[in-house]
């Protein structure tokens, strides 16, 4: 902790509770506040989406974590523009279950192509801010969910005789 060392601001500092001696900072804060207004409450649309997710939450499900996301590791030798049309690939892992997901963008909609490993899940539930939709999973563990609205999404894989597997919410 370096909180008590000598003030290194070039201007005379009078420290009362971390205030003073930082004129540019104060000006910046005032400018940002004038531009954006004070950070307030959650907007109605966000609140509605969060409320839907709260109502649809599955406390009993096995939670996966994102172990791979092509958005996090863009190929270095490719220009960004060349990636625009390329699908996004995600991998979710949990003990005893894994899910590969390919996300393709078509305007405001996404097509999700999933592959569950090991197979056994019978239904993939796609949860969005606007509600859920169910898609059949074939015997090889593959499913396709088309016309998924862009925005927050979470998947629940329903397995006969076992707890469902769920993914974190993420924006697609």
């Amino acid at each position: 902790m370096t909180g008590s060392d000598a003030p290194d601001s070039p201007l005379p500092a009078q420290h009362r509770e971390g205030d003073g001696g930082e004129p540019d900072l104060d000006r910046l804060v005032a400018e940002l506040e004038a531009e954006h207004g004070p950070a307030g409450r959650v907007g109605a649309q966000v609140r509605a989406a969060a409320g839907a997710a709260y109502a649809a939450r599955r406390d009993d499900a096995v939670m996966t974590e994102i172990t791979d996301d092509s958005a996090d590791t863009p190929p270095t030798a490719v220009r960004d523009a060349a990636l625009a049309e390329a699908p996004r690939y995600l991998r979710f892992d949990a003990p005893g279950a894994a899910l590969g997901l390919e996300v393709t963008s078509i305007d405001d909609h996404r097509t999700l192509v999933g592959s569950v490993d090991p197979p056994g899940a019978t239904t993939a539930e796609v949860r969005t801010a606007r509600g859920s939709a169910l898609f059949p999973v074939d015997e090889h563990g593959a499913f396709v969910a088309a016309e998924v609205p862009a925005g927050p999404v979470s998947l629940v894989l329903h397995r006969p005789g076992a707890a469902p597997v769920t993914t974190p919410w993420l924006t697609v």
């Binding site: 909180g3 001696g21 540019d24 950070a39 997710a53 406390d59 924006t171």
Partner: protein
């Protein structure tokens, strides 16, 4: 299970600890869930804003973070640590959206963002300032970065709120705040923020328009509305 066999309808949740709110929200207490969101709204919002996402992406980020909190209520090991959990989750989702925005295809005109009424100069100056601020914040490690974001985008947050979000004890907050303010100030000065703005202020004092943008005869702000950005909506 709780001591609350009876729920008092208009009970104030302001006094209830974060951990207790989580427990109640897990028992399908909508009011507790709302209270949890209200408690952290400004802080989550500050982190989102600090990333400079498009309005649409910013909204997606917030929706995703709160949805994730709902899903993780039963999985957060220490319910009292929802604050740092939210700070991390928000930062991560915003980072992801920033990377995705870089590869977003050009949007249809009807899905562009709302009309930007600023003059091109004002918009450019603000964008340059925001880049500079993000660089200054990015140069910090945690918990300083979270404290810096709150300092800029949720100024005058009580020490207890800063502590709960940044994973500090309230006693540590004043020292971290001082350190963060000094570093931000130094970083801003080094990058020339003070210079431009200083000039702008001089002009303002002379009674002219106070922005650092070059003074220009009646910029056609409103007569020529522009659309900006390539995002959705």
């Amino acid at each position: 299970m709780s001591l609350l066999g009876v729920r008092v309808a208009d009970q104030s949740y302001a006094e209830v600890s974060t951990g207790e709110l989580v427990k109640r929200a897990l028992c399908d207490d909508d009011t507790a869930w709302e209270a949890l969101m209200n408690r952290f709204a400004a802080r989550v919002h500050a982190v989102v804003r600090s990333h400079g996402l498009s309005p649409h992406d910013a909204q997606d980020a917030e929706q995703t973070v709160w949805s994730n909190l709902a899903e993780h209520l039963s999985r957060i090991r220490t319910p009292e640590s929802v604050g740092p959990w939210l700070a991390t989750a928000t930062r991560r989702e915003c980072g992801r959206l920033l990377r995705l925005a870089r590869r977003a295809p050009p949007a249809d005109p009807e899905r562009l963002h709302a009309v930007d009424h600023r003059s091109p100069e004002a918009a450019a100056v603000a964008a340059e300032r925001d880049r500079l601020v993000r660089r200054a914040i990015a140069a910090l490690g945690e918990p300083d970065r979270t404290v810096a974001v709150l300092e800029l985008h949720a100024p005058r947050s009580p020490a207890a709120e800063i502590a709960e979000f940044a994973g500090l004890s309230p006693a540590e907050v004043p020292a971290v705040r001082r350190r963060v303010r000094r570093r931000l100030q130094r970083s801003l000065a080094e990058q020339g923020y003070g210079h431009d703005r200083g000039a702008g202020r001089e002009r303002a004092r002379d009674g002219k328009a106070g922005r650092a943008a070059p003074a220009e005869p009646a910029a056609p702000d409103s007569s020529a509305p522009r659309r900006s950005g390539t995002g959705r909506q």
